[in-house]
């Protein structure tokens, strides 16, 4: 039996972050993960993260995964892969299935950061090959480089459904539609908008009825639902798809904690009762990340760090005073993520009608996935100016502020509360550098110049699809709803390492289309 001071179950964002904190303070740490690769879901997350600098905002998930991993290695954390923890026993002993053998390890503390599993809803044909989890789609395309299908129906409009839909498009796969039984888009409006503007329809208050096919999925049937989520006869719609992707929520994988005798409660799944430091009712057993309640990777890293620091204090590696300083800082960083309309307390709320600033929310965004042009002008990121300037179509209170740091000329202000809507200064000294466009994790910033030439305006938009259009090429400008609105000429496509794979595509459109054109599509053929 091998001994360590801290045993961590799960090498995802929470587990690795905890291990790093503990190892940094001198503890001997081992991390166990059932997968063949560490990082949990981070290596599948290819979008830029939200939050602020302290939350690793605007860095793509897979890069954060690589950072955490190299930091853990540098600090001497032992990461055991293909290692399934099968039980936590008395006196901090765990059993691990490794290389076909059952191994014992003993620690002075155990942290469970086992993450979550995907939920599923059964329907006719749901077991057919071609019905997959959204996580499966991410794994196939982003880890293994294989497209899960050619044409996909996405079920679920939470952040997972929205982000994976966008990733499907980036992988060259068609998304036929995003449906959700709820009457409103569940995830961030900015995630919805970047999908909607490519032409993907959103069908809210719709559920999946049937996967068609005998050997594999050949189509899908959906129907409208009433206010009690019952399908309404006669509203059925068919889609030609070969893949149905399910993104209908996650559940904590907390079985190990329940087995270990930790007190559990029902809070959107079975979760352990924790104190403020992440310790369960069993002294010495801690939990962090999604296993303790579904959130996202940014808060998982913070709850992991809190637990790691608290474990170090408990085992005498950190004095009370230093601990309380570090704990305060981490707790404040976490609370900054927990503000706004998508905070844990506000989850699933559909009665919010205005932003924290008192501005009425875009109803079109909630129902269709995009903002109507007429709704835009009431938001502080949208101002009319002479010459080039940013137009920030960020209309919900989400915790994010890289745009403020991106502008060296002080044109953009979010303030210290990172859920506030960004404001564009009235007389901004915008040089058109485009750093704000590339830094916006929600891809909600555009540069607009209504005085580009006599008759035309230029619009610069974030672009993350291959192949890149070429300067001089003529194509179609699409509106926020993804419908063609006018002809467009490509002025330039810029990319640089600092923009991290977000290219800046500048198109020229007729002047009157400056506030309408928001995406570009090459002409077919």
């Amino acid at each position: 039996m091998k001994r360590y001071e801290l045993l961590v179950v799960g090498a995802g964002p929470a587990g690795l972050s905890a291990a790093i904190e503990a190892a940094r303070l001198g503890m001997k740490v081992a991390v166990f993960d059932e997968n063949s690769r560490p990082g949990g879901q981070l290596f599948k997350q290819i979008h830029k993260f939200f939050g602020s600098k302290e939350h690793k905002a605007k860095i793509r998930g897979y890069r954060i995964g690589a950072e955490l991993l190299s930091e853990a290695e540098r600090l001497g954390v032992e990461v055991h892969l293909n290692a399934v923890v099968t039980g936590i026993f008395e006196f901090m002993e765990i059993n691990v299935m490794e290389n076909g053998e059952l191994c014992h390890y003993k620690g002075n503390a155990v942290l469970v950061a086992a993450g979550a599993r995907e939920n599923m809803i059964p329907f006719e044909g749901w077991t057919l090959p071609g019905v997959i989890g959204a996580g499966a789609a991410q794994t196939m395309m982003n880890l293994h480089g294989v497209r899960p299908g050619q044409r996909v129906l996405m079920v679920g409009s939470g952040n997972v459904g929205l982000v994976v839909s966008y990733q499907l498009l980036q992988a060259g796969i068609q998304v036929a539609a995003i449906i959700d039984a709820a009457p409103q888009v569940g995830g961030y409006g900015v995630h919805a908008s970047k999908v909607a503007r490519t032409g993907v329809p959103f069908l809210l208050s719709h559920t999946i009825i049937k996967a068609e096919g005998t050997e594999r999925v050949t189509g899908a049937v959906i129907a409208k639902v009433d206010e009690k989520f019952r399908p309404i006869a006669g509203t059925e719609q068919h889609f030609d798809v070969d893949t149905i992707c399910m993104a209908v929520g996650l559940s904590p994988m907390s079985q190990l904690l329940a087995m270990a005798g930790c007190r559990m409660e029902e809070r959107r799944g079975t979760v352990p009762v924790l104190n403020e430091y992440g310790e369960t009712s069993v002294a010495g057993i801690f939990a962090a990340g999604d296993v303790a309640g579904i959130e996202e990777a940014s808060s998982a890293m913070l709850t992991g760090r809190i637990a790691g620091t608290a474990i170090a204090r408990k085992l005498g590696y950190l004095d009370e005073e230093t601990f309380s300083g570090e704990y305060q800082a981490l707790k404040e960083a976490l609370s900054r993520l927990h503000e706004g309309m998508f905070s844990p307390e506000n989850r699933g709320r559909r009665d919010l009608t205005e932003t924290d600033e008192g501005i009425p929310l875009s109803q079109s965004l909630l129902k269709n996935g995009y903002i109507e042009k007429e709704e835009l002008t009431r938001f502080p990121g949208v101002v009319k100016q002479k010459g080039i300037h940013p137009v920030i179509e960020c209309t919900q209170n989400i915790p994010c502020n890289p745009c403020q740091d991106a502008c060296k000329f002080g044109c953009i202000a979010v303030g210290s509360r990172i859920t506030k809507l960004p404001e564009v200064a009235k007389d901004s000294r915008c040089t058109g550098c485009g750093m704000c466009v590339a830094s916006c994790s929600g891809q909600a910033i555009f540069l607009v110049n209504e005085d580009y030439d006599e008759t035309g305006a230029s619009v610069t938009l974030p672009y993350e699809f291959f192949p890149y259009p070429k300067a001089g090429e003529r194509g179609l400008a699409l509106g926020r709803d993804g419908r063609p609105v006018c002809e467009a000429e490509v002025i330039s496509v810029k990319s640089s390492p600092v923009m991290d794979q977000t290219a800046l595509l500048t198109i020229r459109v007729p002047k009157e289309m400056a506030m309408t054109a928001r995406f570009y599509r090459a002409k077919e053929g």
Partner: protein, 109 residues
């Protein structure tokens, strides 16, 4: 027409690194894939959707979770049934068979 299922160049990830090209068989037929990728990835890239048929009703099953959790994608690999193909790395010369119930069908090679 089946589109190329492999992503050759990705706008964010660039060129996705692969192991060397290896050969394996599916129910006796020659197949190709990349060493170290999950068997399921190589099969999906080749357009194979059905990994097994259920014990009682003979219903087809394929990839569902792709992370080794649901066991829908199990097949007979090198004579061993119930191998989770989504988390089992592909090797040169592997003998992969569609699973019927708990075994490979008699008539397949």
């Amino acid at each position: 027409m089946e589109m190329e299922m492999r992503i050759n160049e990705h706008p964010i990830l660039g060129v996705i690194e692969k192991g060397r090209l290896v050969h394996f068989t599916l129910d006796g037929a020659d197949m190709e894939g990349y060493e170290g990728e999950p068997i399921a990835a190589a099969l999906r890239a080749a357009g194979v959707m059905t990994h097994r048929h259920t014990v009682k009703r003979g219903e087809p099953r394929g990839i569902f979770c792709a992370i080794g959790r649901c066991t829908d994608c199990v097949m007979v690999v090198n004579g061993k049934p119930n191998v989770r193909t989504c988390v089992t790395p592909l090797e040169e010369g592997m003998k992969v068979q569609t699973q019927y119930g708990k075994t490979a069908k008699e008539q397949t090679k």
